[in-house]
């Protein structure tokens, strides 16, 4: 039997009231006397539910409303409309019982105290979250092992590299073993090796503790490797909510055929097989409808001297762009 959702979001919306200032000194002086405000919708009627242990990627362009949604779910921002319930709590009330069960890791902000070693920040969080000493030691040892942090625990945070700091941020955020973990671009600015380590860590943590993870990232590799389900949001609206496979099936209407021919072919000869993306001497890249790709490949092999052929799935970022573009066109 499937468990009950632990995150319930219904027609959630958030509007930001922004002060509109005219340019220059004159505009600044005018704003002192008369302020003009505009209301900008950051999130519009967003609805979804998440079950315990799910790994959900929240993706979209800059300003799409991802972080605002996470901030409402964590209790940092009060929604302008709709309802949100996480672990049975209304997050905006920021009840102690709720805050003890969640954590928020922000790729661009640090919760670790800058001038003291990371271990002191961990100890402080142990006291703040009232983690029993035995449990704290067990979790700390496990996290330190998983993230390979043993040698830097006693180094002042300001002396650590960005990657080391981010790993320590994860330890600080997870020392109380939260049930729900909000991650806002956790791999931002990290090198590929640390990115991979963080991804593996998130998956391992989810598996070990059954934590529910909501992740925003601009790196599609994060989403592909960590998440089972994705929610695509743009201009504050949800455009897709489902498994990555579903997204590919539904929206990846084309595949790419990469051919290396023995002889140069003409555009005229190739046009009937699909859209020509590139034709440079013997190298040909064709965009073909997904259901016909195998058949077209077979025809090409029969009609041309082909040295090499590969069929590529579209990249996730291209599919996401496709989804958003299609929906924008439909909406307009």
């Amino acid at each position: 039997m499937k468990s009950e959702p632990i995150i319930l979001v219904n027609k959630l919306s958030k509007e930001h009231k922004m002060h509109r200032k005219e340019e220059g000194v004159k505009g600044s002086l005018k704003a002192l006397v008369h302020r003009e405000y505009t209301t900008i919708p950051a999130v519009k009627d967003v609805s979804f539910s998440i079950h315990p242990g799910e790994l959900v990627g929240f993706i979209g362009s800059n300003g799409a409303g991802k972080t605002t949604t996470l901030k409402m779910l964590s209790g940092l921002l009060e929604p302008s409309g709709g309802s949100v319930e996480v672990l049975g709590y209304r997050p905006a009330e920021r009840k102690v019982g709720y805050l003890k069960q969640i954590s928020f890791v922000m790729g661009q902000k640090n919760q670790l105290l800058w001038d003291i070693p990371a271990i002191d920040s961990f100890n402080l969080n142990r006291d703040i979250y009232e983690v029993p000493e035995k449990h704290y030691r067990e979790v700390l040892d496990e996290l330190v092992e998983l993230l390979d942090l043993k040698d830097i625990l006693h180094t002042q945070v300001r002396r650590l590299s960005l990657g080391q700091r981010m790993k320590c941020e994860f330890v600080a955020a997870l020392i109380h073993t939260p049930k729900v973990l909000f991650l806002d671009e956790p791999t931002l600015g990290l090198d590929v090796v640390v990115q991979q380590r963080i991804r593996e860590f998130i998956k391992a943590y989810n598996k070990r503790y059954g934590a529910t993870v909501m992740l925003t990232s601009h790196y599609m590799d994060d989403v592909k490797e960590i998440c089972e389900r994705i929610i695509i949001i743009d201009h504050g609206k949800v455009f897709f909510d489902g498994k990555i496979d579903q997204l590919i099936q539904q929206y990846a209407t084309h595949k790419t055929l990469n051919l290396t021919l023995a002889e140069t072919a003409t555009r005229q000869n190739l046009a009937k097989y699909g859209d020509i993306i590139e034709l440079a001497g013997p190298t040909v890249i064709l965009k073909t409808p997904t259901p016909k790709t195998s058949m077209i490949a077979a025809e090409l092999l029969a009609n041309f001297k082909v040295i090499d052929v590969t069929i590529s799935e579209p990249r996730l970022e291209d599919i996401v762009r496709e989804v958003i573009t299609q929906r924008v066109i439909l909406d307009s």
Partner: protein, 223 residues
């Protein structure tokens, strides 16, 4: 130094003798350093920038009072050492005063001093709370600092008329140093003794209420 110069030419300031003023100055140093150490450095100077940059996020996400967290998260420890000259000045002034001071009087002075610190803290919170509303108002801490530092150092009896009403009852900075100093070295009106805890509790309650209201206005910062 200002008081030393003045008292070199006058017998007393508003009825306060040379050594009573020196005691007040000593207590004033202790009060200033304690306020600076425990509250001022982060509570007043850092918070406006933290609000503007969205750095209050982590304080709000912790299962403890964000006011407590923000007030004490970056104490200026060395400020505690800076209270030592103040204690020295107070002891010197008491010896020169040659008065017998009972334990009860010291306890009363200490109690009033605690009330004074609570009043200073409450006033800081009220003023800093305004930064949630006026996000760019980084001058607020400076104004708050000026009010506290400039007016709490003088003997309370020096204030008359409207200034007296303001500094006793509206922005009651005289309760930070002057009232406790008077309780130890002079006679103090019973009404003022009774007023100190009432003002401390009332202002703290008001400060917490304003803070809770203001924190709802916190809009974080874009990512």
């Amino acid at each position: 130094m200002f008081f030393v110069v003045v008292l070199g030419n006058a017998h007393a300031i508003a009825g306060w003798s040379h050594y009573q003023v020196l005691f007040l100055s000593g207590l004033n140093i202790v009060a200033s350093e304690l306020i600076l150490s425990a509250i001022y450095i982060f509570g007043l100077w850092r918070l406006p920038a933290a609000i503007k940059d969205g750095d209050v996020d982590f304080a709000l996400l912790k299962p403890i009072s964000p006011l407590f967290n923000l007030s004490l998260s970056k104490p200026y420890i060395s400020g505690f050492l800076a209270t030592l000259p103040g204690f020295g000045l107070m002891i010197f002034a008491l010896i020169r005063l040659g008065q017998h001071i009972s334990i009860g009087r010291v306890a009363l002075g200490l109690g009033l001093f605690v009330c004074g610190l609570v009043i200073a803290y409450a006033m800081s919170i009220i003023l800093v709370g305004l930064c949630f509303y006026f996000v760019n108002a980084t001058a607020i801490p400076k104004i708050a600092g000026s009010i506290a530092v400039d007016f709490k150092s003088n003997p309370m009896d020096a204030y008359q008329g409207a200034t007296r009403i303001i500094l006793y009852y509206v922005l009651p900075v005289v309760f930070i140093s002057s009232v406790p100093a008077a309780a130890i070295t002079r006679r103090l009106d019973v009404a003022l003794i009774a007023l100190a805890p009432i003002l401390a509790c009332g202002l703290l309650g008001l400060a917490v209420t304003i803070w809770k209201h203001m924190i709802r206005r916190y809009s974080s910062a874009g990512s």
